[in-house]
């Protein structure tokens, strides 16, 4: 079995099984956690609007901190946007998803995707350097942060190298690219990358809870 066959076969199989099992485990576990019964009288009836409102307002920088967190905010949005374009609209990626899901969608030209990947990679490296040097960020970062960032950098880096055929034979680069994604899959449910599944439900829950207490989210 070649390295590429291993990456496309058993490694993909087990990493996906771990990814799916882990994500569902954590989501179901979080949803079924008990909370103490709120015995206070509700200020008003809260619902969907409060939850969605919290998702919206917390997706924008808080007015008080706007200037101080502008850099993280802009780079955060740019990074996520670039990542989505790269992951979801590169032709070979769509073929990968099609092999798993059974359906596909139109791809973007390679030039746009390559630019997005380069932007995402540059932002992530800049944020990693900042995290390692900024006194506050350094203080609040743990191994999970660094592992998560590095595991996001590797697929972008190896993907660009594989696309451009730089640094080795294509089949080796492609295999390394796939293995780096599979490492990400395995880590995903157990680290901070799980925020991609938890963020919006958590904000929704906070919004409805605040609404009940009469707090504007």
């Amino acid at each position: 079995m070649t390295l590429l066959d291993f990456a496309r076969g058993p490694a993909l199989q087990w990493s996906l099984i771990i990814l799916v099992t882990g994500i569902i485990w954590r989501i179901v576990g979080a949803l079924l956690l008990s909370s103490r019964k709120d015995l206070s009288v509700a200020r008003r009836k809260s619902g969907l609007n409060d939850g969605l409102g919290a998702i919206a307002t917390r997706s924008l920088p808080a007015h008080t901190f706007e200037k101080r967190i502008r850099f993280q905010h802009v780079t955060g949005y740019a990074w996520h946007l670039a990542l989505f374009v790269t992951v979801l609209f590169f032709g070979p990626h769509i073929l990968f998803f099609e092999s798993l899901l059974g359906f596909s969608w139109p791809a973007l030209p390679n030039g746009i995707v390559l630019f997005s990947a380069a932007v995402a990679l540059a932002i992530l490296i800049a944020l990693l350097i900042r995290r390692a040097n900024h006194p506050v960020q350094k203080l609040i970062s743990n191994a999970d942060d660094y592992i998560s960032v590095i595991l996001c950098i590797l697929p972008l880096l190896t993907g660009i190298l594989a696309f451009a055929h730089i640094g080795g034979r294509y089949e080796t680069l492609l295999a390394i690219h796939l293995l780096s994604i599979e490492a990400l899959f395995i880590w995903f449910p157990f680290g901070k990358l799980m925020h991609s599944a938890m963020t919006f439900p958590a904000r929704f829950q906070a919004g409805t809870s605040f609404g009940r207490k009469g707090i504007k989210a």
Binding site: L4, R8, V20, W25, V28, G29, L95, S99, H165
Partner: protein, 356 residues
């Protein structure tokens, strides 16, 4: 060709002009990635080359490799060079058979001990010696016996080079390649299913010119011919770069000659000279005909998943297994939540007991 004739004399008798011969030498030197200054050396060495004795053994194969060489197209300089070798044993082509053929092989081995070239096409079955025999001799015994006195071994075709189709899962005959058995001789793997004729003659020309084997890659293939991927030299590569793909074999993209990556083309992972040398006197190659590369020059090409599955697609995609994983995750989630609740209730009770 008479035994006392050299190659130059033989080619002249066949009507090949000096200009035509030099043109071939230039092309060969170019194909072998030699500098222009080497053309004269190639021409001189080839023109004065004496017929090297060649013994050709065919084992578990389909004769496609021999067909590729002998029926490729009208005689050309390279085919005449192929004719010019002393093919002393090739049981598919020779008139003699049985013991007569075996006597010819032994005679060639004795007369040219240590100097003959051994060409092998087909894989060697190890599962049972009786799976493939010639004149009652197993392929394994014949290969070992003939390789002893060979100057070098050329494994022609993917079966001889890497096991090929006979070795494909579940490999019922226990097929192996030449290099799995012969370890004490220089081996040149000229893979392909079938290999390109000019690559064979290029290797022969190199041997005739320099008396050595050409530079090989990590799979034992001449880097001059197998140094780049089909994708690297494909005329459809610009379409790949622009993200323009044929989605089916008869859509607009296919008609416009766009990249065949989505249709499973293995060009990006296949190393061969098809895209540059092409077939049938440089007429075309599979991608030129609208079909993706199968990657036939690579080890295990039959077992890398469907020929029509893109390289970036996983070789595994079982929705049932993923649903099972989701169910397992849900069970784990329920279990861990229940355990957390139990711990919480216990802590509350202990807290209430302490306060009372």
């Amino acid at each position: 060709m008479r035994k006392d004739q050299n190659l130059g004399e033989y080619l002249r008798t066949q009507g090949v002009s000096r200009r035509g011969f030099l043109k071939f030498c230039s092309a060969t030197a170019s194909l072998m990635a030699l500098p222009p200054s080497a053309v004269a050396q190639v021409a001189e060495a080839l023109a004065s080359a004496r017929r090297p004795s060649v013994i050709w053994l065919s084992f578990q194969e389909c004769t496609g490799c021999t067909e590729s060489l002998t029926r490729s197209h009208a005689p050309t300089v390279e085919s005449l060079i192929f004719d010019a070798i002393s093919l002393d044993y090739h049981h598919t082509l020779q008139v003699a058979s049985g013991e007569g053929a075996e006597e010819a092989r032994h005679a060639a081995m004795e007369e040219n001990d240590g100097e003959y070239l051994l060409v092998v096409d087909g894989s060697i079955p190890l599962g049972n010696p009786g799976y493939s025999t010639i004149a009652g001799i197993s392929n394994l015994d014949m290969l070992k016996d003939t390789a002893k006195g060979a100057a070098a071994v050329i494994a022609v075709g993917t079966c001889a080079a890497f096991g090929g189709i006979p070795q494909a899962f579940p490999n019922p005959t226990g097929a192996v390649s030449v290099s799995d058995i012969i370890t004490d001789k220089p081996i040149i793997n000229v893979s392909g299913c079938p290999p390109i004729p000019v690559v064979i003659t290029g290797v022969l020309a190199h041997f005739l010119t320099f008396g050595t084997i050409p530079e090989l890659d990590h799979l034992g293939r001449p880097t001059a011919f197998f140094g780049q991927t089909i994708h690297d030299r494909c005329y459809r590569r610009p379409f790949y770069e622009r993200g323009q793909f044929a989605h089916t074999f008869d859509d607009e993209g296919a008609r416009k000659g766009w990249c065949l990556y989505e249709l499973g083309c293995k060009g990006p992972t296949s190393y061969n000279a098809c895209a540059t040398v092409k077939w049938n006197e440089g007429t075309s190659f599979p991608i030129g005909s609208g079909h993706g590369c199968l990657g036939c020059s690579e080890p295990g090409f039959w077992d890398h998943g469907s020929f029509y599955k893109p390289i970036s697609a996983g070789l595994w995609g079982s929705k049932e297994t993923l649903l099972g994983a989701a169910a397992a995750g849900a069970a784990l989630g329920i279990g861990s939540a229940m355990a957390a609740r139990a711990r919480k209730n216990k802590a509350i009770k202990e807290s209430e007991a302490d306060s009372s």
